[in-house]
Symmetry: D2
C-alpha cells in the first residue's frame, strides 16, 4: 500500500510537516508527564524522550531540555518530583519532502501554559 | 497578550486546524493507552477521553470508539486488559476561523499500525 | 493454573491486600496524571479513574476526588489544566480473603508530596 | 514531621517493603506503556525507566528488560511499535530496615497477562 497516496494526498508537504510534528509533541507531553525525575535522572529521561519520539514518521530530530529551575521549584521532601509541562522546553524537527518545520513547546508564564506552536517552517 | 498573533501568525487557519487536531490526537493516544479496560468500563473511559480532549484549543468535538473486537482479542484471565492503539477508532473535529478539519486514528491491519491522518478538511 | 498458589503463597492475605492496592494506586497516578481537566470534565475523569482501576485484582472499590482548590490554583488562560498529583485525593479499597485494606493518596503540603500510605487495614 | 511514624507505624517493615515496590511497579507500567520503541531505542528506554523509578521511596534498584521477541512480534510497517505490558520483564528491589523484597512483573502466556508478584522476600 502507498500510505502517502492513500491517506495523505489531501494535504500538502508543509501541512504534513506540521501534522507529524504536532502529533509527536502531543505524544511526548502526555507520555512522559508524571515521570519521577530529579537532577540525577534528568539526562537519561531527556535522552529517552528524544530517542523514542524520533522513531515517529517524519521526525528528523528531537531536542529535549527539562528546565532545572522549574524542576527545583517543585522538589519534594523525597528528593524527586514528577515531570510537569512547565519543565518542558522541546523542539521537534520534521521533514516532509522539501519542507522542514520546527515544532516547539515552552512554558509561557503569562498564560500559565506550556504552549505548543510552529516555531519555524520553510 | 494576543497569542494568535504572537505565536500563530506564521501559519494559515487551515494549517492550525491540522496542528491543533494532531496535538490532541497524539495526546489522547499517549495519555490513555495502558488504561485498564473491559466491556463494563468501556463507556466511561470513552466519555472521559472525549471530555478531556475537548478542552484543548480549537477542538470542537471528539468521538471515541474503543473497538470491542480488539478489546475481546486481548482479554486476560482477569477479565480486563490494557487499552492499546489497535482498539482506538477516534475522530477529533477542529475549527479555526472558517476551516474545519477531522483528524482520525484507526488501526490499519496491513500496516499493523494505528494510523493518524487528516480524514477531512474544507 | 492456580495463580494464588503458584505466585502468592509466599505472602499473607494482609500483605497481598497491601500489595494489590499499592499497585493500583501507582497505576492510577501514572496513568492519569497529565490528563487535560477543568471543572466541567472533572466528574467524568473521576468516574473513569474509578471504573478502570476497579478492574484490577482484589480491588473492591475506588473513590477518586480531584481537589477543586488545587485545580483552580493551576488553571491556565485556556480554561483547563493538566491533572497533577497534588489534586488527587483517592482511596482504594482492597479485599483478600478476610482482610480489608484502604490505600490512600493525599497531598501533604509539609512534604510537597502526594503521599501514598495504608490508611486502614483490619 | 516523622513521616514513618505518622503514616507507616500501622504496617511492618516487611509490609512496607512490599507496599513501596508495588507502587513503583504499578507506576512503571502505567507511566511507560505506550512509549514508541524499537531495537535502537530499547536501551535508552530501559535506562530511563530504571533511573526514574529508582527515585521513589525504599527502592534500592530496578532492572528493566524489554523483551526483544515481543517487541519484534508487534513491529509495525514504520519500524517501531508502542511499549506494551507483555514486553516487560522487570525486577524492583526494595529495602525497608532489615527487609529486602523483589517485586517482579513478567508476562504469563497462560493467563495472557503481565503478572506482578513478590518474587522474593526475606
Amino acid at each position: 500500500m502507498d500510505v502517502d497516496e492513500k491517506y495523505f494526498s489531501n494535504i500538502t508537504s508543509r501541512e504534513r510537516a506540521i501534522f507529524e510534528g504536532a502529533i509527536s509533541m502531543g505524544a511526548l507531553f502526555h507520555q512522559f508527564v508524571g515521570t519521577p525525575v530529579n537532577k540525577s535522572s534528568k539526562k537519561s529521561l531527556e535522552t529517552s524522550m528524544e530517542e523514542s519520539l524520533k522513531l515517529q514518521p517524519a521526525i528528523e530530530d528531537v531536542d529535549v531540555k527539562i528546565r532545572f529551575d522549574k524542576l527545583e521549584e517543585s522538589m519534594s521532601d523525597f528528593d524527586y518530583t514528577s515531570l510537569t509541562g512547565d519543565m518542558l522546553d522541546v523542539k521537534i524537527y520534521t521533514k516532509v519532502k522539501d519542507v522542514q518545520a520546527t515544532i516547539r513547546i515552552e512554558f509561557i508564564e503569562e498564560l500559565n501554559y506550556p504552549l505548543m506552536y510552529v516555531e519555524d517552517i520553510n
